[in-house]
Structure formats: structure tokens, C-alpha cells
């Protein structure tokens, strides 16, 4: 298969199919991943083609899903686990944090934990409570875990391949409101490393850093700013742990200004980490303080208010203006 237009959802499906096909030790596990193909149909058709032994419908118990995945990994399998929605990961949080993240270190490197935990995350689909959260900082804070999020079909396909091949546990956040966005996917091109950031748009006046669902918003903001004569660079972080600070630094040394955009609450969020590191690294290059745009320190609001909560074009452009005003 060469280059073609494909949705993120389909790219993930193709990627999981390839992973199952390539390595008999790869397993898909989760609630409703079998006959239904997952509530977002990311695993659609996989059980039919690979059987119930490879694509496993599990009891509705998240700690059990992750805990048994750990055991299967200890036996030599490479489980790819689906958590149905972001807000449902917390029953499994104990297993992820106290067990999965630490197993390799506790065993002094003797055992590996090649487990991928897929989590559809973020808002923008008008869902009910616990179906729209952005808990990435909670996982990025934990040593032993790696945390990534693709923003386009090509990254969805290739980053999943790389995550499955990794011997470290990967928390794979899928931007659910972008599942149906289509993009170019070349299944034969050689991808860059999993944790390397990508310049999504070149610019010279200010850098917008984003990942997952917010990359599209930032690209739209950059296009709108262009009409006002502002040249905005957009950096797609792709990985929240580790973070490619070198790429952020390179961009900020060029533009002198940085705004970090994410859906998760700003307080203690990835924007804070990026702002602090970049201030250390680029103090003499910065023309303005690093600004952050994100969610509020409030419970995720009901769907009718989520457009107020989520960073949109106007809030991003407002931050751009504030930065440029220094």
C-alpha cells in the first residue's frame, strides 16, 4: 500500500492489523474490542481475522485488563490494551503506576514490559461525564512510562507501530475528536523516531507548541494570524514523555516567543513543564514570557459548555497577541 488518504481511526486500525500480522505475540485486549470492534471501531474486523485468542474481549474491569496484560507481558506477549474512555483509566491507574511503570526497574532490568495502553482522550465530541478528559500529565509524571499522542493519520499509523515494538510501557493517547479527520498516509515511508517532535508549520514570529487534538487548532490559528501578517511556527510535540525539548528550543531560538496549547488543565500541566524548561534553556532568546492556553482548574464541564472550556481559535490567537505585545 502506498500513499493514500485515510482517517486517523482507519490508520490505527490498519496499524493494529499490521502489528497482529507481523508478530504472533501481539495481543489486543479490552472491553468490546472483539465483535463490536471497539466503541470507536478502532479494532473493527480484527477479531474476525485474528481470532478470539488474539483480539480478546475482556470483563469490564480496567485494573484487571492492565494487571493481566502485565502478566501476559511477563510470559512474553506484547499486549495492546484499550481503555474505552479517558475517564475510565483510573480504576487501572494503580496497576499502571505501581506495577507497570516500575516492573523493569524493580527487576534491575531483567524483565521488560512491552505493553501499550490505548486511551481515546480529550473533548469535543459532546460526550457525558468521564468521556472527555485529558489526564496525560498524570502519566507523564511517572517515571517508567512513556506518553505519546498522534495528531494525524500518518503519525497514528507509524507511532502505533513503534509503540508496539517498544520494550517500555507506552500510554498511547488517541485524540478522539480527530478520529475521523483524514490525512495522507504512506505505509511504506520510513518514519522518524517515536519521541521526536515535528514542525507542522514553519514560521518566524512565535512558536505554538501542541500535541494531539490541539495541533489542528494551532494550525488554524497560524493560518488566521498569517492573514494579519504574523508568521507562526507550529510544533507538534507527538510525545509528552519524553519531550523533545531540543526541537522546542530550536524553534524558540528562532522565533523568541512561545505559547503552549493543550486541552488539559493548565495547572501542573505539560505546558508548565515546557515553560519552565524553555525558560531555563532560552532565557536570553525569549522576547516574552512563555504563555499557556488550556483547560481550567475545574471539573470537566457538561457538553454544552465544553466549547468554553476547550482552547479554541480565539483563545489561541488571544495568547499570540499577548505574547507579541511584549
Amino acid at each position: 500500500m502506498a500513499a493514500e488518504k485515510m482517517s486517523i481511526a482507519k490508520a490505527l486500525n490498519e496499524s493494529l492489523r499490521k502489528a497482529l500480522d507481523t508478530d504472533p505475540k501481539v495481543l489486543i485486549m479490552g472491553e468490546d474490542v472483539g465483535k463490536l470492534g471497539g466503541v470507536f471501531r478502532i479494532t473493527d474486523g480484527l477479531q474476525k481475522d485474528f481470532g478470539e485468542g488474539r483480539v480478546i474481549d475482556t470483563p469490564l474491569a480496567e485494573s484487571g485488563i492492565v494487571g493481566t496484560a502485565i502478566g501476559l507481558a511477563l510470559r512474553g506477549y506484547r499486549p495492546v490494551v484499550e481503555i474505552q474512555f479517558d475517564g475510565f483509566v483510573f480504576p487501572a491507574y494503580d496497576q499502571i503506576v505501581t506495577q507497570l511503570a516500575k516492573m523493569h526497574a524493580r527487576a534491575l532490568g531483567k524483565i521488560k514490559m512491552p505493553v501499550v495502553i490505548r486511551i481515546p482522550y480529550g473533548g469535543g465530541i459532546g460526550a457525558v461525564e468521564h468521556h472527555s478528559e485529558s489526564p496525560e500529565a498524570l502519566f507523564a509524571h511517572v517515571a517508567g512510562l512513556k506518553v505519546v499522542s498522534p495528531s494525524n493519520a500518518s503519525d497514528a499509523y507509524w507511532m502505533m507501530q513503534q509503540a508496539v515494538q517498544s520494550d517500555d510501557p507506552i500510554i498511547f493517547f488517541e485524540p478522539k475528536r480527530r478520529y475521523w479527520d483524514k490525512g495522507e498516509l504512506d505505509t511504506e515511508s520510513i518514519p522518524g523516531p517515536l519521541h521526536k517532535a515535528a514542525v507542522a508549520r514553519e514560521g518566524s514570529d512565535l512558536t505554538l507548541v501542541a500535541y494531539g487534538p490541539m495541533v489542528k487548532v494551532c494550525l488554524e490559528a497560524a493560518a488566521a494570524a498569517q492573514e494579519e501578517g504574523k508568521s507562526i511556527e507550529v510544533l507538534d510535540l507527538r510525545s509528552m514523555s519524553p519531550i523533545d525539548f531540543d526541537a522546542v528550543q530550536t524553534s524558540v531560538e528562532k522565533t523568541g516567543r512561545l505559547v503552549v496549547v493543550h486541552e488539559a488543565p493548565v495547572f501542573y500541566g505539560s505546558g508548565a513543564e515546557i515553560a519552565a524548561r524553555i525558560t531555563e534553556r532560552c532565557f536570553y532568546h525569549l522576547e516574552a514570557p512563555v504563555l499557556r492556553v488550556g483547560g481550567y482548574h475545574a471539573p470537566y464541564p457538561p457538553a454544552r459548555l465544553e466549547d468554553e472550556y476547550l482552547p479554541g481559535l480565539d483563545r489561541v490567537l488571544d495568547a499570540v497577541d499577548r505574547s507579541l505585545a511584549y
Binding site: P59, S63, G71, Q99, I243
Partner: protein, 386 residues
């Protein structure tokens, strides 16, 4: 006592209600026909219709030796903690039969997922006992390669490992192998959701796992009554697999029952819950004080059921071991104690940079950066001549 107090609190609005309230809850009891026993506290062999065992004199002496040496090791570790050589110790005193009996039922290709008190099981698996002390001394979080002896690292968050065991067992089934897994946990852990989820998963996938619950009556200061209203082994029924209560101070019964459960797992018939009804003679760990929460009489009553004493009585009565045997074993115990003492005292602190070792299998630039900074910081003292 729980039954009475609950009944007393119930409003007696109708005779029907009163009679319902009076229905006795099935309080845990460690006696009666439900308890599998093959060797009485008095050292008498008894038969059980479902569990037979026929061991040679050598095998019987072997079990005795395992229990004696495990107890000696445990006593040494407790002493080392008191001497400041270990930060903490979780003693298995009183639980030797449960651990040696179940541990000796295992085959080499079986896999064990312990909690943090399975020193006797580790002994059966061939793990050098001094390797168990690293985490209690604070030099590592587990000093052995789990795959060398098929004995996983100690797990401190209670119950977590029952899911790992279940997943591992699911993998065995997928591989078409005929080995099995034993997951150890305690009566306190039985209250954890993970244990219930492990029961669910293992039943649903028919996983070859034996859940071996050592009900030692106390979860730190909380008695079994604070964990359950039904005998623990009966929980298995609700999940669709058998549960059996065994005299946890009877090494023969523990061996027979675990062997039977493992054979069942190997035949592809799925999980079994074994509740070893036993008693923790010491503290939960060296940091608590059991005199604050339990009566001396209770401990004294259990002392009469000592697992080592009863097998010794049997060996002596049957003339399966003579005085020379016991003397030689005493000497072996002392040698083990001395070796443990010497190894622990000589155990070096890890290299400072070990903080960063093995955080990730595939590396991480942030860890590399912090490691380099820390190394440079440490090196700066050397340059200053400190």
C-alpha cells in the same frame, strides 16, 4: 461477635425481619469437616476422603528440614532488623507449613507470584534467601531475576500480583503448555478489588492458576472479621471455581491440596482458591506491635498448633528421624543463620548513579540528562577534595 452485634443493631419491626437477622452469618471457623487436615496438632496422621498423600521418610524429613531452615532464616532476619541491619522485616513465623507445603507442590516450570512474606516459598523455588533481604535492607526493590527460578518479585501493594499471575496463566494456556501458576496473597488482600478481578478473569479464561490465600487471621491490626462475612474459601463458588480450606499449619495437607489444585489447572480445568487457615505468630512487620491489638491467649492457642512441632512429633513417633538427624539439622540451621548475617552485613550500598538504572528499557533522554547532571554534581565534590 460480629453476628451478635449486627443482629442487635437491626430494628426488630417484624418477626420475619427478626428471624432473618438471626440467621447466622457464616463466620470463619478453622475447624470442622470443611478443614482439610492430614496431620493433627498432636502429630497423628489422619485420612481425608479427597486428599491422599503417601510420602517417603526422605520426603517427610525434607519438608521438616525446609520448615526448620525457613524459620531459622526468618528469625535471623528479624534479629538483623533489630540490630539495624534491615529497615523492615515481614516475618513468616507460624506460616512455614502453608508455604513449604504449597511450595513443594510446584514443578520447576510452574510460576509463582508472591506477596512480600513468601520466604518459605522462595526457599522452595531455590532463591538464595539472602537475595530476599536486599529490599528490606534498602539496596534494591528485589534482588533476583524472576525468570531464573520462576519466582516473581515481591509485591507490596496487596493483591496486585494476583492479576499478574492470572495474566501469566492466560499466557501459559495460549502457549499450550501444561505448567501452572500460584498466586499468593493474604486475608487482607482478599478485600482488594484486584483479587476479585483476578478471580473473574481467571474463571472467564479458565486460566491455570491456583490462588493460595494464607489466612493468617490478621491484616496488620485488622482481624479477618473486618475483611469478610463468609469463610474466604467460599468466595470461589461465586466466581465459578472450587475453593477449599486447608489446615495451614499442616504441611502434608497443604502439599496435598495444592498438588491437587495444580493438577486440576494442568488438566485445563481452571483456577482453584486454596485458603490456608493459619496464624501469623509474630508482628505483621517489625514496625507494628501485636500486643496492642490481640490477646496473648490467642497466640498461645495457636502455638499449640505449631506446624514444625507437629511434624517433629510425627517423625519421632514413627521413628523416621533420630536424635543425630535433629542435631545435624540444628547445626545446619546455625550455619545458615551465620551466612545470612555475614552476607547482609557485607551487602554494599548501590552505586549512587543506580538511581537512574533501568528506569526505561529503551532509554529516555530526560533520564540521561538528569543522570549526567547528578554525576557532574557528585564529581564536583571529588574535585574539591571532599
Amino acid at each position: 461477635m460480629t453476628v451478635e452485634s449486627t443482629a442487635a443493631r437491626k430494628p426488630r419491626r417484624s418477626s420475619k425481619r427478626t428471624s432473618a437477622a438471626k440467621t447466622p452469618a457464616q463466620t470463619p471457623e478453622g475447624s470442622g469437616p470443611q478443614l482439610v487436615q492430614l496431620l493433627t496438632p498432636e502429630g497423628e496422621r489422619v485420612e481425608h476422603p479427597d486428599y491422599e498423600i503417601d510420602l517417603s521418610a526422605d520426603e517427610l524429613r525434607g519438608l521438616y528440614r525446609d520448615m526448620v531452615l525457613t524459620r531459622r532464616f526468618d528469625a535471623e532476619a528479624t534479629a538483623l532488623q533489630r540490630q539495624g541491619e534491615l529497615g523492615l522485616w515481614a516475618s513468616l513465623l507460624g506460616q512455614e507449613a502453608a508455604q513449604i507445603g504449597s511450595g513443594r507442590a510446584l514443578r520447576d516450570d510452574d510460576y509463582v507470584f508472591p506477596t512480600y512474606r513468601e520466604h518459605g516459598v522462595a526457599w522452595c523455588r531455590g532463591v538464595d534467601p539472602t537475595n530476599l533481604l536486599g529490599m528490606f535492607r534498602g539496596v534494591n526493590h528485589g534482588g533476583w531475576d524472576p525468570n531464573t527460578n520462576n519466582f516473581h518479585l515481591y509485591t507490596i501493594v496487596i493483591g496486585s500480583q494476583t492479576l499478574h499471575a492470572t495474566g501469566y496463566a492466560m499466557g501459559i494456556a495460549k502457549d499450550g503448555a501444561d505448567s501452572a501458576v500460584v498466586a499468593y496473597f493474604g486475608d487482607g488482600a482478599s478485600s482488594q478489588g484486584d483479587v476479585a478481578e483476578a478471580f473473574t478473569f481467571s474463571a472467564v479464561y479458565n486460566a491455570p492458576v491456583v490462588f493460595f490465600c494464607q489466612n493468617n487471621q490478621w491484616a496488620i491490626s485488622e482481624p479477618t472479621e473486618k475483611q469478610t462475612r463468609v469463610p474466604l474459601y467460599q468466595r470461589a463458588q461465586g466466581f465459578g471455581f472450587p475453593g477449599v480450606r486447608v489446615d495451614g499449619n499442616d504441611v502434608l495437607a497443604c502439599l496435598a491440596v495444592t498438588r491437587s489444585a495444580l493438577e486440576r489447572a494442568r488438566r485445563g480445568e481452571g483456577p482453584t482458591l486454596v485458603e490456608a487457615f493459619t496464624y501469623r505468630m509474630g508482628a505483621h512487620t517489625t514496625s507494628d506491635d501485636p500486643t496492642k491489638y490481640r490477646a496473648d491467649e490467642e497466640r498461645a492457642a495457636w502455638e499449640a498448633k505449631d506446624p514444625i512441632l507437629r511434624l517433629r512429633t510425627y517423625l519421632e513417633k514413627q521413628e523416621l528421624a533420630d536424635a543425630a538427624y535433629f542435631t545435624a539439622l540444628d547445626e545446619e540451621s546455625e550455619t545458615l543463620g551465620k551466612r545470612v548475617r555475614d552476607v547482609v552485613r557485607a551487602m554494599p550500598d548501590p552505586d549512587r548513579l543506580a538511581i537512574f538504572d533501568h528506569a526505561y528499557a529503551d532509554g529516555n533522554p530526560l533520564v540521561d540528562e538528569e543522570r549526567a547532571q547528578f554525576a557532574a554534581y557528585q564529581a564536583s565534590f571529588a574535585e574539591e577534595g571532599n
